[in-house]
Amino acid sequence: MRSLKDILSQLLEIPDEGTTPERYRIVRRNIAVLMLMITLIPLAMMTVINFYEYRAALRNEILTPMKALVNKAKHSFELFLASRLSTVNFIASAYTYDELADEKNLNRIFKVLKKEFEGFVDLGLIDSKGTQISYAGPYELQGKNYALQTWFEQVKVNGVHISDVFKGYRKFPHVAIAVQHISDSGKVWIVRATINTAKFDDLISSMGLDAESDAFLINRHGVFQTKSKFYGEVLDQCPVVPTKSFEPTVIEKIDPLGRDVFLSYAYFNQTDLVFMLIKPRSQVMKAWYTLSADLLMVLVIGVIVIIVVVLKLTGLMIQRMKESDDKRALALREVEHTHKLSSIGRLAAGVAHEVNNPLAVINEKAGLMKDVIEFTPDFPDKDRFLNLVRAIIQSVERCRSITHRLLGFARRMDVEVQVLDVNDVIKETLGFLEKEALYKNIQINLELPPDLPKIASDRGQLQQVFLNILNNALAAMGDGGTVAISSFERDSQMIGVTIRDTGHGMSEETLKHVFEPFFTTKKAGQGTGLGLSITYGIVKRLGGDIEVQSRVGRGTRFTVYLPKKTESEPGT
């Protein structure tokens, strides 16, 4: 198992070796992976952090109003119950036993009560033994004994009692409120009032809940005290009884309908009631889902954009790298070629020097032999010897021209710059070749614009350049054909001269070596293979460039580019 450090160091390494396409592929892959890593990892981290932070923040923001709503509802219920309780308490305290026992009196009190406080269904006086002494209300309850009922026991112990919701005799939900009063004389009585729970439903509907939400009361045993929209009727068993908490609390649940819900609840402080508010999670978290979808979209778009940009960018970089590598390789090859040329040049000069003197001696000796033979009137085998000597002299002549060419090759180092018109140089050079062209029936077409800018260059060397190219052009053509010469201004820096012939052309293989010294396609003895090499050397020396295009059987085109201003190196 490799460590992260190893992987990183491997990614940062740019291989120097290996086949070139492989190397570029590795470099590109490494750069792309690195760039993707340093962009995608922070982006992914930011997205994850944002996701959790936003969710936490938003959750609080959503749940707080739910808790507030529960708290408010709980207080409303408690306030309602407390006000009813104090009313009953007031009645129990303000009136004497006898006043309350008087049915007429009680009915009057009940009438006032009903008028002032909504929800009261009946009012009754019960003595300490549990017997209903008097009763005002819609039912016939006089004389009924409650001594055995649990609420009676509780009111005897606690002084007050608020019952759970019950249907009792009346068959619709009620809550009974009972208050025990002990007079100064020690007499004990209980005032009991019943209120219907319609007010509860009013309180819940006043919360303005949406269709998906539900709110209801249960008692501590989980029995519905008000009707639930989804989970049951009054006095049904509620499927959930949350743990006791007086503070509003929110829990997440799956409800019996299978919905993911937030359940917010609070236990009542004084009574056995629990208020519950249920909202479906999907609805509550709607904002969150929108936000997280946006977040995801930003992430996906970001990742796509990054990947596309990184791939494009690395592609471009590698392309540039490749180009500059190629340029460097080309420059190196050129330097190598120039170097080769100059060392061959030095060698050639040395050889020419050394050979020239003995050649001069041979020339003179042979000349003397010729003189002797010629000047002696009856020299035996005169003609035969004269022919032999002439052959020697001719061979010397050939050697001479070779050494002179070699020297010319070495001499190209000397540059004598003057301002000149290239068109003139071309015309002068053509002067040397006119006779040959005429003899070979070759047509020469000139296209030399008179407004061609003058350039600073070496006249003699330019002549040699054109002469070499034209010589080759003439040699490439048999009888007939056309040589077209045109000059032009290439750009603000350079002018160009194109020399096109309709000769036999060159093969690709020949083209590759065309500027190499001693490369020739001519028969042995007819060419030194130095002409175009010298030409190349001179053009480079003059700060120019030379291009050649050729097709076998179609002809060859040389284009020489020359700088308007020469920055030639001094001759060596």
Partner: protein
Amino acid sequence: MKDWKVLLVDDEKEFVLTLAERLGMRGIQTETAFDGQSALKKLEVDQPHVMVLDLMMPGMSGLTVLERVKKLYPKMEVILLTGIGSTSEGVSGMKLGAYDYLMKPLQIEELIEKIGSAIKKGSSAK
């Protein structure tokens, strides 16, 4: 042609002697010297019409000899021989007052022609 007198100076003895013989066969009087010093010494004794001087010699170089000759005998014409065929050497010789220059190996007819025109120039100047 009979009264032409030429001094041939070259370190290549075989070359100088053969050339002298050939010129002699054509009726031209020749003297030979194999280096600059002896050439200058010979000039002290007798001055030829034309001096044919090789530029590449050990010891005193051809150009130095030319300089001395032109100083001492300004009327004497000098034809330079150059083995390296370099125009620049020839041109600098011409600037020092040489009459012309030829490249080795040379053609005898060309040399005689040059000697002739040099003598003609010298005599017309007189």
